[in-house]
Symmetry: C2
Subunit: 575 residues, 2 copies
């Protein structure tokens, strides 16, 4: 391709602040919010100067490449793309693009920054383009044809609400958990993008949403449509990552918010000397958040779900592990401490899963008698576990059901359950004379507080680059890639920008007799550097108090550009 | 008094960093913590230059001055003291002081800063002095004679652990909730301060602890002992304040930490559009924290305990108030929101207090039959309320008792209780056709997270001045005063420093047939500026979404020196 135009040096700022902000955003902001509006986001050097896009070698899949190839006949094998500096741009001249963007799934700090990255790219390198924001997640695309034009959409061409850009949250266009799955839904999406004459669509989401993005890309390509699709890695859980995508956005901010609270609670624990704080942290599928928070704060006890699963620990094993440390600390007169528990802990314990499955079966078909005869229908192992559970937990399992009559696993307050089990076990040991301390548990759940905080400098910059890069990929004609910004432990100028074939992250799962493509969630690797570092230190943290209070996230001055431990340990050597 | 020595201009810094920190504080700190170590604390001008102490007019009491005069024959009527600039100091020459300091009651960010203020004063103006920190609160003073010298004490003369100075928490010497009450305990305290030959004692605490401080001061004075006692106003609850003491330390930091979390949850609520977040905030006796957080964040609904009490609202009234707003919001398609509830809400509702008293009586003397015949012993009003409560609440009231068999009011999770009651009422209205929205409640309790955070710049500076001033008062021979730093909305240089007679804050309460002196808790004034501002805006906040996300506390840059709303509204006109 011949270069279409060339600019040397930095681009002139194309940002235009809207003359007045009205409607739902006509609010007064806090001083810190206002300071973020004025915060100029740095771009990696490669985005500030002319670049060309260079393809890498053909890609494969994370597993079962033959099946992935069948599912994605048009996209399988696509190379990764890297932006590299060039004397001049190789982009179409005077091309006005129409790009759609959608937020999908749970909130993560930085989503608005991705959108503003896309917008700024269009202003800088495709003047006169239009950005469409679909409201309410994928449903905004599917329902588009039903509600009349623009009713579920925001259109930005000249102005962009920079006031909300750095504030966290997805409230600008909201998110949604719908999926584009059925043939009818694909058809609806097809009609919407055709009606809008979209050149591209950016899907900002987690593993499921990016799988969905790739299916859409394949669908559009198979129909020879011009609409390309690019994904962006979003989830505070940190479980969407790979070599080319070192982290998902939002993880950094969420962990730092939780770590601030954990640090405060630690100092409180040490000051009163009489409470054990059990802190449950968001992150159902993987324990990355819990691990990162542990590395930031050095709690006395940290439970990592993946380790519990690998060691096939039972609930009794987990309880004993905690109780042993509490007993040992009591010998040193430390009757206080902080314990971190991942939200998804019980999903990692096979025996609990078995019990719940059996309970669902029994409750669906039998009446539960007060005398407890129904318990005879439980297997020995499940009965033993059921009897081991605190009474309140037993009741919760029996009484709180979802509309289908199933036990509501998500509603189980694991931290309260553990407090009760630990208390019971300590009481037993006290009577046996092997424990002489005093135990008082305090429970906490840190979750919603971290999903919409003001993004850290890292997440702000990372998201902006992800969006800017996604637009570059779209303009270059790429589809089915996930925006990939790397070398993140180096200064921002040195970050790499490109795209990774979504099919290369995929494996298949057998569901209802069919192969379904999935991007496997990245779990905590027990052989990975973050877990190994944690494992090498946890015994010391358990007995000596090595608490660190990270303090609140800073936007200027010292600590404001801190790189999180997970990223540093996994990718720091690159820098 | 003749001036003993004179220094013009700023004092040379007397701070010596200890050559190495060992033991429990030999920790690695976070980058933000380290940045706080280097943070130089400004002093009010009056403390940076030569000053003399000027007495005001004779004082009286907050109530029943005759009784207070009888209880404090030696101290009643003491004038307030103000530090005023002078050509030269009027302080004893070469006087080496021995000062004790004790932390009393719950944690509040800034306690260490008070201690470092005392230490720095001694270094600056009484070189060669020694500061003794009693460990574990007032018990550290009382038990001093039992455990051998220094075992429950920290001694600082040349070095001070500045590394922990700005970190929040009371972990340097810990706190305690014991009181010095009985004649034997006064005797013990007397022996301790004599053994250590103390010139003065600084008691850092809330209303109870400062009452205690005054009783100690009276006791020492009555025995012609040289030991003087000065109090310092500490409590995150913000309910120890008066004209001369505009705020208690810790309130600013705690509110800003909670407001950060509330702001995050607000953006989350607006992003998903499907949850009502019920946030319970610490502060049992007074609702200052809830009010301040409301002014900082603009929630849809805020319950202020003092208003509930003044209007004699029932639990049903509170529920209806919430439900009415939720219904109205549903008409605008807002099926989400944020609701703030003070921790002590149910203490403000008389009918709940009656019910609990009746339950305690019944449970102490009667057996509770499954059939519910016991309920006939409840008065009509209490029975009606009991039946109105959600089942889980009823069970909690019946089952969870303290060691004396009493209902554990503090354990009641008011936010969960309200969610259930609101849900039930909305369900009723839905069936009646007057409500068509969808309701999903999420509960939060923000408490321990705010007591030991890194103090804001305001609390750091305020505490440092409180401690510095307290030492000045002691050196000048003052006793029975509370350290008072005023004009807090003006720049730090213009802050006033002095002491207020503790007896002037006191009233009496009749307990066990005797008059007991008490410093009345400062409640939210319904005629005060903060509540009035809130009341004038809450209807708008209820229906329109005027959320503000204050973001994390900043230590440098914009927003880092923000004065809280309560202080600004109550005292801003002074500046």
């Amino acid at each position: 391709m011949a270069p279409s135009f060339a600019i040397n040096g930095a681009f002139p700022s194309a940002r235009v602040t809207p003359p007045s902000v009205t409607g739902r955003f006509a609010a007064v902001y806090s001083e810190v919010q206002n300071s973020r509006i004025d915060h100029a986001l740095p771009l990696p050097s490669v985005l500030k100067n002319p670049f060309i896009i260079v393809d890498g070698p053909q890609s494969s899949a994370a597993g079962n490449p033959e099946e992935i190839a069948k599912l994605f006949p048009n996209l399988f094998g696509q190379p990764s793309a890297a932006l590299v500096p060039s004397d001049s741009h190789a982009l179409p001249v005077n091309q006005k693009l129409k790009i759609g963007v959608v937020l999908s799934g749970g909130q993560a700090p930085g989503g608005h920054n991705v959108i503003s990255g896309i917008f700024d790219y269009l202003q800088d390198l495709a003047e006169g383009s239009t950005l469409y924001g679909f409201r309410g997640g994928p449903a905004g695309i599917m329902n588009f044809t039903y509600s009349f034009v623009y009713s579920n959409m925001v259109v930005w061409n000249k102005y962009f609400p920079f006031t909300v850009m750095l504030f966290g949250g997805f409230d600008m266009i909201r998110s949604g958990r719908d999926k584009i799955e059925t043939p009818e839904q694909f058809k609806q999406a097809e009609e919407t993008v055709q009606k809008l004459d979209l050149d591209g669509l950016v899907v900002i989401g987690g593993d499921d949403s990016n799988t969905n993005a790739c299916l859409l890309a394949e669908h559009f390509r198979s129909k020879n449509m011009k609409t390309r699709v690019i994904g962006c890695p979003k989830t505070i859980d940190g479980d969407l990552k790979c070599k080319e995508v070192p982290t998902s956005f939002g993880f950094d901010t969420a962990c730092k918010i939780y770590a601030e609270m954990i640090g405060n609670v630690m100092i409180d624990a040490r000051s009163t000397g009489k409470y054990y704080h059990f802190v449950r942290l968001m992150g159902r599928a993987a324990s990355h958040i819990t691990l990162e928070c542990a590395l930031q704060t050095h709690p006395n006890i940290t439970i990592i779900g993946e380790e519990v699963a690998a060691k096939k620990m039972t609930l009794k094993d987990v309880t004993d592990y905690i109780v042993n440390i509490i007993s040992k600390r009591a010998e040193d007169n430390y009757n206080y401490g902080v314990i971190l528990i991942p939200e998804g802990l019980i999903d990692f314990i096979p025996e609990v899963q078995h019990l719940i499955a059996e309970l669902n079966e029994i409750l669906a078909h039998d009446t539960v008698d007060e005398g407890g005869l129904w318990k005879k229908k439980l297997t020995d192992q499940s009965l033993k576990l059921f009897e081991f559970l605190p009474k309140a937990m037993q009741e919760q399992l029996m009484l709180e059901r979802d509309p289908h009559g199933n036990v509501q696993v998500a509603k189980i307050e694991t931290e309260k359950m553990l407090i009760q089990m630990v208390e019971t076990e300590l009481e037993k040991r006290k009577q046996q004379g092997s424990y002489k301390g005093g135990f008082r548990g305090q429970s906490h759940f840190f979750g919603y507080e971290g999903r919409c905080g003001l993004p850290t400098n890292f997440d702000s910059t990372y998201c902006y680059a992800l969006g800017y890069g996604a637009a570059a990929l779209l303009q270059s004609g790429k589809t089915g890639l996930i925006s990939s910004v790397g070398n993140l432990c180096a200064p921002v100028e040195e970050w790499t920008v490109g795209g990774t074939a979504l099919t290369s992250l995929m494996d298949v799962e057998r569901r209802h007799g069919k192969f379904k493509p999935v991007i496997k969630k990245a779990m905590v690797e027990l052989e990975g550097a973050p877990f190994k570092k944690f494992a090498s230190l946890r015994d010391e943290w358990a007995l000596k108090n090595r608490y660190i209070s990270p303090g609140p996230i800073q936007f200027t001055g010292r600590g404001s550009d801190a790189i999180n431990h997970t990223l540093l340990l996994e990718f720091g050597a690159q820098a």
